[in-house]
Symmetry: C2
Subunit: 261 residues, 2 copies
């Protein structure tokens, strides 16, 4: 119900009404972008900080011989690079996987907000540290795990991240606007091998897929086989979400918890 941005940040710091309404105001004015558009390109000198309100984005780089590597996903509520305007130029690009609602925040506006609300500043830094931790976990994922584990691990991560912003339904299903080629560019595998690995994940009743949509049939076992642990997402505030998640793991009919107090 509250927007994804607020939901996410309340995971990271306790925010009062005044802070929340400041965050809500920060989301305006948003505009609509098309799937496939780039928000930022490698080499740009970024002027804005982008806040994704709706839809999916992804960070990517190209290798010399044309291989694309996806280095992060952006889901609703994610903010790109609080501090990117400090650097000279972007070393990677940010694109959109789906139609998206995006708010381009002028850097100065964000800085003022953080100066005025220390708790918001804290939450934003926290989120930024989680992004970095996620990069490290992805490195572990690609470096140490085989295809089956890699893809399973990725799905676990997305499942948790989307739960935080309320985008996972009661059947543990969510939208995933990603082709098998995109999955391959994320995990360092070829589309063909991704296909075969997905088949195995389905055969073992861990997931079910429809077009642009995935259902996590057995979250616990999926986490087990992939060595997934939520630690690196740093959601460990003894907040309500944690409890909800735990409940969901035990009995699979619990309602999707809201993040409020």
């Amino acid at each position: 119900m509250p927007n994804a941005f607020v939901r996410k940040l309340t995971q990271f710091a306790p925010l009062g009404d005044e802070e929340i309404s400041a965050l809500v105001r920060l989301c305006e004015p948003a505009d609509l972008r098309n799937a496939g558009d780039d928000l930022v390109c490698e080499g740009d000198r970024p002027q804005h900080v982008y806040l994704l309100l709706d839809g999916w984005g992804y960070r990517y780089k190209f290798g010399r011989d044309g291989g694309r590597q996806i280095v992060a996903f952006l889901v609703p509520g994610d903010l790109c690079d609080i501090k990117a305007f400090l650097l000279d130029r972007m070393d990677h690009s940010i694109g959109l996987l789906s139609e998206a609602r995006v708010r381009a925040i002028p850097a100065i506006e964000l800085i003022e907000l953080m100066d005025r609300f220390p708790m918001i500043e804290r939450a934003l830094w926290w989120a930024s540290l989680v992004d970095e931790a996620t990069l490290r976990e992805w490195l572990l994922n690609i470096g140490q795990r085989d295809a089956f584990e890699r893809i399973a691990h990725l799905f676990c991560e997305l499942w948790v991240r989307l739960q935080v912003v309320g985008l996972v339904d009661a059947d543990d299903a969510f939208d995933l606007p990603l082709t098998q080629e995109g999955l391959g560019d994320t995990t360092g595998l070829t589309p063909v091998h991704v296909n075969r690995t997905l088949q195995r994940l389905r055969r073992e009743k861990l997931i079910a897929t429809r077009r642009g949509h995935i259902e996590i049939c057995d979250p616990r076992r999926l986490a087990e086989v992939s060595g997934f642990s939520r630690n690196y997402l740093h959601l460990t505030r003894d907040g309500p979400l944690d409890i909800n998640l735990r409940q969901r793991l035990n009995s699979r009919n619990g309602p999707v918890g809201a993040a409020g107090h």
Copy 2:
């Protein structure tokens, strides 16, 4: 010859005498640690920010089945996690590859320094952004390149980073206190395959190795074969210091915010 920390930071922002001497003071008191020691362990709640003055460190994580992934190297002049004390617990560990001189900086001290010297703050953030960009490049490295390119790329990066702090000699050689197993844990390869790949790099006259020591025989070609570009290290003070940024940074300490001192 200034210390490595100062050398590195002056790459990122123009620092005056007062700022430099503040940085030099920050390096005291340092203490000596042994190779193999851990500075920080996964699960710790870090109290200090560590500054590496001499020797090599590395960040690493373990997978469920015991595989170790090295996710970053720390070389002299590198500072760990300006903002780590914000998070609840470490999601990875930091160890030492060699005997090292380390300064454990209390978080408060660093914060005060950054408040007092905006240019230092700027340089530290810049360095932190470079660390993150490096993670992305490593992901590209492991995800898209084969063994030969991966290792070549890693050597290119280290060559550049060590040059910045004056640790590469006239023959393009430098100390590399890393076993082939360590190289494997960095690149997602087995020690055996690392060995064979190193042989090929030597055979093609790209590098030469002695014990704990490496010489880059042909830097240009090594960069070529691995697709290395130094962009992501953001050493380009070419278009830097743009006036906008200076203004933004100044306005931050100015009378704008209610939360400043």
